[in-house]
């Protein structure tokens, strides 16, 4: 393939993999541009230095920073480069994107997530709207993802279960740790309804991929067996196998060229040697992640779009979403709970009893969220460095060594992650920074972040209820807290889909209202994020959008 193709997909993560596979399978010529390198299973090791300490799967922030704008204590907006700030909004720059490094805990949205506005009404200071499609429109694609990506789990009846078109998951759950029984008992005695967390992890070899090796190193680490359902292992590799899909790694797309009629004619990119190249296509699919997709559109001015592609209504970049919520943890000692505690199988339990909070003490009924239980990540350097400081003093010498012994030899922590809606609002958005440029000389994304106070209230409600289960299990040192800061690994919004071209960027098919051959299929389309991580929904919606592309190409 040279310069031309039917479909050019920019980005190869959760939003890029589905259209690449679906369209290549349908016989269309597809080119995928990915700004990062192409790693395979043979490049992934349980190496904390590579994955966490030196973070080699993301760009160097000196070369490719963002600008983060937050409010200081006096209420004044302050902007600074993320280089040297401690903040980092990149996730997995390589073929397959951030899905290579996800934990693979997968939940669908529920019907109520598609109609938050009509169910709960407006929330002051938040831009909550209904989705232009319903759960029923997306359900077949959730089911498709279960098969194509490989989702393991077990359907159990519980009050919050969403409707399904198939009786059960195509793969049985990954092996469960014995402590899960204790969790179930504690949760049920509190009147809650625990159920197995679906995982995008194969419990055994299938579809040419290996099964789980039960290391416990899922989140932040690439999967060496292919069990994890990354876009690379599950979709891109199969798209390439059709011989209709070419992946170009280290290709940094920087402009979508458009003509006077408003149609996109080509995408320009820098190749690995820094040379500018371009690809022409009939349809262009943008899937660079919520922040970078908005940036690419804003960079792509043209005769019809002086403020950026598809940005005639100044909506591109607005209503940036993250996942809100909270967290908790509790300690389980080997002395009390036995050596079996060391087993590296999964806990895989979820509570969604508060997906809608109907608690008079908390106020009128409102959207709540999901509580997920996992073992603390086993990465030892991360665990050890948490012990280096106590209040304002560092710890070293024999006291540090005794603390390390107690922490590592004494037991294991079980963690809770609580996920709730990050309410969209006017002070959370992406623009281009007027000053800072990346190593290619392109303006970087400027990210303004503030959170709605309701995020914290709901996050605390969920985390504290989850903590009751930890206490019921017999955990010691249980702590719970809400999280106000953005989840930099889970971003969505910025190019909302909707029926009204004045207030949304995309139509209900995820095609730009004003650009007939431009689709956006990453999490950018989401007007609200749901109370679960976005990945399964992005995969499902991208498969749905691929059907619309097929219809358009035909």
């Amino acid at each position: 393939m040279n310069e031309g193709c039917d479909v050019c997909v920019i980005g190869s993560g959760a939003g890029g993999g589905p259209p690449a596979l679906a369209l290549a399978r349908a016989g269309y010529k597809v080119i995928v541009l990915e700004k990062g390198p192409w790693f395979t299973e043979q490049d992934f090791y349980k190496d904390e230095m590579a994955c966490a300490r030196r973070r080699i799967y993301i760009p160097n922030l000196q070369d490719e920073p963002h600008v983060l704008e937050t409010k200081n204590e006096s209420g004044v907006w302050e902007a600074r480069s993320t280089y040297g700030s401690g903040w980092d909004f990149w996730n997995g720059n390589c073929v397959g994107g951030a899905t290579n490094f996800m934990s693979g805990s997968f939940w669908r949205l529920k019907p109520i997530d598609f109609r938050l506005y009509s169910t709960f009404g407006s929330i002051e200071g938040a831009n909550v709207v209904d989705w232009p499609i319903s759960y029923d429109n997306l359900e077949p694609y959730y089911a498709l993802v279960e098969r194509e990506v490989g989702v393991s789990g077990k359907v159990v009846t519980h009050p919050q279960a969403e409707p399904r078109s198939t009786p059960d998951f195509p793969y049985p759950p990954t092996e469960e740790h014995p402590i899960t029984e204790r969790l179930d008992k504690a949760a049920r005695s509190l009147g809650y309804s625990p159920f197995p967390t679906p995982r995008a992890i194969l419990p055994f070899s299938a579809m040419g991929r290996g099964g789980c090796s039960y290391n416990g190193y899922c989140g932040s680490y690439g999967c060496a067996t292919g069990a994890k359902g990354s876009s690379r292992a599950a979709l891109i590799d199969r798209a390439v196998a059709t011989k209709n899909c070419e992946v170009r790694p280290r290709a940094m797309a920087y402009c979508l060229e458009s003509d006077r009629t408003g149609k996109v004619t080509a995408v320009h990119y820098f190749d690995k040697d820094g040379f500018s190249k371009k690809v022409r296509a009939r349809i262009f699919v943008v899937a660079c992640g919520a922040i970078e997709s908005a940036r690419l559109l804003l960079l792509s001015t043209g005769p019809k779009y002086p403020k950026g592609l598809a940005n005639g209504n100044a909506q591109v970049g607005r209503n940036l979403l993250f996942a809100a919520g909270g967290a908790a943890s509790g300690g389980f000692s080997f002395a009390k709970f036995g050596e079996s505690l060391r087993e590296n199988t999964f806990i895989n339990r979820t509570l969604q009893d508060w997906y809608v909070i109907k608690d008079p003490e908390f106020g009128p009924p409102q959207k709540g969220g999901t509580v997920s239980f996992t073992f603390e990540h086993p990465a030892p350097i991360a665990r050890a460095t948490q012990l280096l400081q106590k209040q304002d003093r560092l710890i070293w010498g024999a006291p540090l060594k005794r603390a390390l012994e107690a922490r590592f030899r004494g037991g294991r922590n079980v963690k809770i992650e609580a996920f709730s809606d990050w309410l969209p609002h006017d002070n959370c958005f992406v623009t281009l920074d007027p000053n800072l440029k990346d190593k290619w000389g392109l303006p970087v994304a400027r990210i303004r972040v503030d959170f709605h106070p309701q995020n914290l209230q709901v996050g605390w409600y969920l985390a504290s209820h989850g903590a009751k289960v930890l206490k019921g299990m017999g955990a010691e040192n249980v702590v719970a807290f809400a999280v106000g800061s953005p989840s930099t690994n889970l971003a969505a919004g910025t190019c909302r889909f909707g029926n009204d071209p004045k207030t949304s960027v995309l139509d209900p098919d995820c095609r730009a209202h004003t650009v007939e051959n431009l689709f956006i299929t990453d999490g950018s389309f989401m007007p609200t994020g749901g109370s679960v991580p976005h990945t399964w929904t992005i995969y499902a919606n991208a498969f749905r959008a691929a059907e619309k592309m097929k219809a358009q190409l035909a």
Binding site: M49, I381, T385, L394, G397, E405, R409
Partner: protein
């Protein structure tokens, strides 16, 4: 949050440019650029520092058992670490010896354990000094619990001490992070 990035963002990466009260009192030229090269005597102080922070014990490995000095040398030359961060580490090493001589009248390596502790606690009370010490401690933890392929944690001595079972596969030499 990446503490390492946070660190050199705040400090500008150059400890020597930020006045440390304890040093200012002793009229040490704080703004004078420091030589990028660590002298043999300063390496002796580094060795003493690392052993003080993670002492070797009969039942538990310390800095010398985990090759901490060699690991620190590796980190100071690691191109994957920002150059301003590495300069921050180097300047801190030099500053430690300055402080030891100013406070206790001798190079850090020549001080008694009690005197070393006093010097380090003085550093720990200043924001910049504490940040530098914490980075040194984090590098010690890397040498203790990182994969042996990087030169620390020989024969998995750190993992064995703490009963840690590593994930697998472990990285072979040709897949170390700076080669990927």
């Amino acid at each position: 949050m990446n503490r390492r990035d946070f660190l050199f963002g705040i400090s500008g990466g150059v400890l020597a440019l930020v006045p440390i009260p304890a040093l200012s009192k002793r009229r040490i030229a704080l703004t004078k650029p420091l030589s990028p090269k660590i002298t043999p005597r300063e390496w002796l102080s580094v060795t003493a520092l690392l052993e003080h922070l993670l002492p070797s014990e009969p039942h538990a490995p310390g800095a010398r058992d985990i090759n901490a000095v060699a690991y620190l040398r590796f980190a100071l030359e690691d191109q994957k670490l920002d150059s301003s961060f590495r300069a921050f580490l180097t300047n801190g090493i030099k500053r430690l010896d300055h402080l030891a001589r100013a406070d206790a009248g001798s190079h850090f390596f020549a001080l008694s354990a009690e005197a070393r502790e006093r010097v380090l606690r003085t550093l720990d009370k200043t924001p910049e000094g504490q940040r530098w010490l914490k980075e040194i401690l984090e590098l010690i933890i890397e040498a203790l619990l990182g994969d042996p392929v990087y030169g620390g944690n020989p024969n998995a001595i750190g993992w064995e001490w703490l009963h840690h079972v590593p994930g697998f596969p472990q990285p072979p030499k040709n897949k170390r992070y700076f080669l990927l």
